[in-house]
């Protein structure tokens, strides 16, 4: 056996697992063990991505969803970092609220969508607001954690150089906390994607979430799976790219 089969490189072994799963699925479907109606075989799903592109204006929907995701991530990250800073700065507030926010990070906030529907109506504002709310908990927590753990000797160095309060924040606290804050931002971005697509699906408005709902309603099951697969691939690519960006930004430190 060639070496790459005995001990395959990580990327290859990941793809291998994926391929094996698809193979099993295809075989089960061919053998009639899985109804084509519940889960069509991969050989039908992959071509359906092409159809999505032609029949369902995939590009427009994709752009729309990602516009909402970036708006939600931007708003949620900005507010989240500000609140994280406040919880770090104000010990009483930090002690009082941090656990609540940790709990909300673990809660399915998407269930709050009826409230946002009432507040903003059935439009992009509801989707972006819901996404932004889900971005905030991880960003808040990681910002606070990062700032809390800045080594005190670095702060003392700043004091001996007579830094102003704002210089202390900009030149020491923030860059020292950045690696931890970045983890929160990446998590937040993924939460934004999940929640934006989820809310689009639930309220029947917007881009790819709505597309999945529509395909389901029309019983285009292969198309629906293709759309879901597309979203999953997008979010995986997304996560991978932010990881690369992070390594690049924080390299050598």
């Amino acid at each position: 056996m060639p070496v790459w089969l005995i001990r395959p490189p990580p990327l290859l072994s990941r793809l291998l697992v994926f391929a094996v799963l698809l193979g099993v699925w295809e075989a089960a479907s061919a053998a009639g063990m899985v109804s084509r109606f519940i889960a069509p075989p991969p050989s039908e799903i992959f071509p359906a991505i092409g159809l999505l592109y032609v029949d369902n204006e995939l590009t427009a929907r994709f752009l729309r969803t990602f516009g909402e995701v970036f708006a939600a991530a931007g708003i949620g990250s900005g507010l989240g970092m500000a609140i994280g800073w406040w919880l770090h700065h104000n010990r009483t507030a930090g002690a009082a609220y941090t656990d609540w926010i940790a709990a909300s990070a673990a809660a399915p906030l998407v269930l709050l969508f009826p409230l946002f529907l009432v507040l903003f109506g059935r439009n992009a504002a509801t989707i972006v607001a819901m996404g932004a709310v889900s971005v905030m908990p991880p960003v808040i927590l990681k910002t606070k954690e990062g700032l809390d753990h800045v080594r005190s000797v670095l702060i003392d160095v700043g004091r001996t150089f007579s830094l102003t309060r704002w210089q202390q924040v900009r030149m020491i606290l923030f860059p020292a906390a950045l690696p931890t804050i970045f983890t929160g931002l990446r998590l937040g971005l993924v939460f934004a994607l999940i929640n934006v697509v989820g809310v689009e699906f639930l309220i029947g408005f917007g881009g790819m979430g709505l597309m999945i709902a529509e395909l389901g309603d029309r019983f285009e099951i292969a198309g629906m799976y293709a759309a879901i697969l597309f979203v999953v691939l997008c979010s995986a690519t997304f996560f991978y790219l932010t990881e690369k960006l992070e390594t690049w930004l924080l390299s050598a430190r």
Binding site: D156, R159, T160, S162, M171, I172, A252, R253
Partner: protein, 269 residues
């Protein structure tokens, strides 16, 4: 007329309130430091050396007694006093050059000026060629030299160093000692060095202060009357050996008290 001291430490004491009661970290310490003088403070760990330095540097502001810089009370950090810390203190997100340029950037110097100045200082501490390396890519000794250069960049009149070489191996420490001697010959910097290494203290200092173990008092002041410039090579000389032996005799008593305390605490705890 006798010159007035650059720095006067006058009857300074510091107590900490802890869960186990009141700890006297520094007890009635007085010391005059002249401009250009190099003074080492040596003592067992836990005797209050860092506490004393933090008070002189303005990081600790609540204490009894007075610390005067040119006759004016020190009431917080000020540019005239620079500090080098025992702990690793370089900024990991800045290159060696950017680390050294840090205080100049904060002070608002133009980019060209601060880069030029930082280059000179990196050269002074023997790190030219490493300008664009990040601290993570350098050894502990090199990082500590960056920290020293960074503090020197601010051109403090008084340099405080808290066991800057404590975390380094003996060979690196000796070579850095030589480097500090070279820098001192060049800048004639008023320096207060905290150390627990006797030969380092003898090699570098005009005067060595021995502190007692808890509460931290000044036990003895020894003038080091060796010719300058000195280097680690003179450590073999007889005069050098005599100073080391003399200091060790005084220090030994204090160190064993410290050891005793630590053992007792370990048995209790």
């Amino acid at each position: 007329m006798s010159p007035s001291p650059a720095l006067r430490i006058s009857r300074v004491s510091k107590h900490f309130e802890t869960g186990k009661g009141r700890v006297t970290a520094v007890d009635d310490v007085s010391l005059d430091i002249m401009q250009g003088e190099f003074i080492s403070i040596i003592g067992p760990s836990g005797c209050g050396k860092s506490t004393l330095m933090n008070m002189v540097g303005g990081l600790l502001t609540e204490y009894d007694g007075d610390i005067l810089l040119d006759g004016k009370k020190v009431s917080g950090c000020q540019p005239e006093i620079g500090m080098v810390f025992q702990e690793e203190s370089t900024f990991p997100w800045r290159t060696a050059l950017e680390n050294v340029a840090f205080p100049l950037e904060a002070a608002g110097l133009t980019r060209d000026k601060r880069i030029a100045r930082a280059r000179d200082l990196l050269d002074l501490v023997g790190l030219s060629g490493f300008e664009n390396h990040y601290p993570a890519e350098l050894s502990g000794g090199m990082r500590q030299r960056i920290a020293i250069a960074r503090t020197l960049a601010f051109e403090p009149r008084i340099l405080l160093m808290d066991e800057p070489f404590a975390a380094l191996d003996e060979q690196t420490r000796l070579l850095l000692g030589d480097k500090v001697v070279q820098i001192q010959n060049k800048l004639r910097q008023t320096t207060l060095l905290i150390t627990h290494n006797i030969s380092e203290a003898v090699q570098l200092s005009d005067r060595v202060l021995i502190m007692t173990f808890r509460p931290g008092r000044i036990k003895r002041v020894i003038e080091i009357d060796l010719p300058r410039p000195r280097s680690s090579e003179m450590m073999g000389s007889e005069a050098f050996g005599r100073y080391v032996a003399e200091i060790w005799q005084d220090l030994r008593e204090e160190a064993s008290k410290g050891l005793h305390d630590a053992e007792a605490a370990a048995r209790q705890g």
